[in-house]
Symmetry: C2
Subunit: 131 residues, 2 copies
DNA sequence: AATATTATGTTAGCTTTTCTAACGTGAAAT
DNA sequence: ATTTCACGTTAGAAAAGCTAACATAATATT
């Protein structure tokens, strides 16, 4: 739970979509969870909900597997990756915004439809899937 | 369908998530679809799948409704909005990437986990929900 | 070589989520 | 006084996801 890494952790995607985005079977995804390589959120009804971070991890896992590394190895590697990106905060720690605040912000910017302010946005790996 | 407006049109979100993101009931969302204010994609099994653009539109609809405008009015307004952002392409028309190409690209960048290249990314309204 | 482990596939039975269709409703317009 | 509008609510069906269990081809171990 560091810095501005907030929104990429928002649980949004059901497993069906994740299967497509990561090109993995449901079985594989659940297996990686069994081995604690990912920990997707759950709905009230116990359905998995994945965040962008989760999907990133799945892509990493997939890649590492293709390189012949096994669960144990991948777990170590991903742990290290986590370390690295954790407290190396040179980044300003922005205050966390509530959903409501976000929505009101959105509404304001939305009424001028065409010019979209490039404000305080940083983009990462998977965001590439959007836009 | 112009320019680089490609990925924002990717059908990703089930209605349950959209309800949360846009703070709307399922009934409302379906009602707006009945009135052709949105046209979300469908899965093989006929479940709605919303894109980021769809969610943007829903937020616009919500806002316009709160301003006392009715379906007919909103339809007109959204039509205009579409016009504006349509062929005013000063933006370079990048070649469309396939999912496979995207994934391979991702994999390559992913192996250096820390430095994320800020390459050719532009961000819009709802992307704010992520990151 | 025989056996065990890994990373999946497959199937079954069950629960959650979403779907359409229909009827109900308060506020506003006519 | 009635319609119309923008929803709420409910019912019944179907899709999508869940866990648990057994099956299996490769690979590793003994």
């Amino acid at each position: 739970m560091g810095g501005s890494e907030i929104r990429r952790t928002m649980p949004l995607f059901p497993i069906g979509i994740v299967m497509q985005l990561a090109d993995l079977t449901a079985r594989q995804i659940r297996y990686y969870e069994e081995h604690e390589l990912i920990s997707p959120a759950r709905t009230e009804g116990n359905r998995r909900l994945f965040s962008l971070n989760d999907i990133d991890r799945l892509l990493e896992i997939k890649d590492l597997l293709e390189q012949g590394i096994n669960m144990a190895g991948i777990k170590k590697i991903l742990a290290v990756n986590h370390m690295e990106s954790a407290d190396s905060d040179l980044v300003a720690k922005k205050p966390e915004l509530s959903d409501e605040q976000l929505r009101t912000l959105l509404k304001k910017e939305m009424l001028s439809p065409g010019k979209i302010s490039r404000s305080s946005l940083r983009a990462g790996d998977l965001s590439r899937f959007f836009r």
